[in-house]
Symmetry: C2
Subunit: 190 residues, 2 copies
């Protein structure tokens, strides 16, 4: 997605450890106009696939997910990290290891909001080592729901997780796919 | 806001400790159509006030904030809880005690995304003891920015924090304001 690639080139900052910081428009400050365009693009990519629910994980996937959900006319469920007093009763739960934060989170989804009748699109802001997607796919499986695929804002293609999932037959659509990263530049897959 | 009050009456669940659970439409599963209507209402309430930025705190304020931001044509900044490797350099920081989770979080906003030129609207999902709003107002003050006011999805009026802020001259708009809560019902302020 050209406008997203241009924003990454213009405002993204690269830090050691293959971290791309996009905090001025995507995951700290949120450019709501750009995010709506990203939501529209995700809706276009998955049009006609029968998606009736979007699944993401807090926090930075939520904004993209809700714009996609709005354009698709479906609700969004965000998996919660750790325990919370406001989710009672039965939950699906799984572990996700964060690439950025180098720690493992327990994430949960209430059984009340996902089940066998759902066809689920997973949405997230970054695809790095794939652990978040794998965790969310595990939740979809536990719910007995069907997975339509995944939609990602920025995939770090050089880490290989996206292509590993594609090779397993999972549909993974990334709005910007970075194939190479140096200390001061990124190269997108065409 | 009538449609929000009706959803709370229909789907909200009351738990001991004055907790209203709205996880089927507002803070675990998100009804994206309802949230866009709430964003429109917030935009209407603050129309003409010169707001150029919205501030919220992760995670459950994000969805409402981004729809309001989209309708107002302004970006959203979400304060992050705890330290994160993707926010470097200078930050504004404050402490927020969570009513629901009975713990205190350090929250931060990068100096890169807020400053003296900003006129800020604070948006959040719940107003209970007011600690989140006070923390976010402290961030706005640290940034040297101007506060336009606050917009809340659900205010628990009987806890008094909203009226205390109003009495201090802060504009606080709540889309649903609960004045009384029993074990099985809520009464809204008209």
């Amino acid at each position: 997605m050209k406008i997203l690639e241009e924003r990454i080139e213009k405002e993204g900052k690269i830090y050691p450890g293959n971290i791309v910081k996009v905090g001025t428009f995507l995951n700290h400050q949120l450019d709501t106009t750009l995010l709506m365009q990203m939501g529209e693009e995700i809706a276009r990519l998955y049009d006609g696939e029968g998606v009736n629910k979007i699944l993401t994980v807090e926090s930075s996937g939520i904004a993209i997910a809700v714009f996609a959900g709005y354009k698709m006319g479906v609700p969004v469920v965000f998996a919660k990290k750790g325990e919370t007093k406001n989710i009672r009763g039965d939950v699906y739960s799984t572990e996700i290891e964060s690439f950025t934060h180098k720690r493992t989170y327990n994430v949960i989804v209430s059984k009340e909001v996902m089940g066998p009748d759902d066809k689920v699109l997973i949405v997230d802001d970054f695809l790095a080592n794939g652990k978040a997607l794998e965790g969310l796919m595990d939740i979809v499986k536990q719910a007995g729901a069907e997975l339509a695929g995944c939609a990602i804002a920025i995939e770090k293609g050089f880490q290989g997780a996206g292509d590993r999932l594609r090779n397993k037959g999972v549909r993974v659509e990334s709005l910007a796919l970075i194939d190479e990263m140096t200390d001061d530049s990124v190269k997108f897959r065409r």
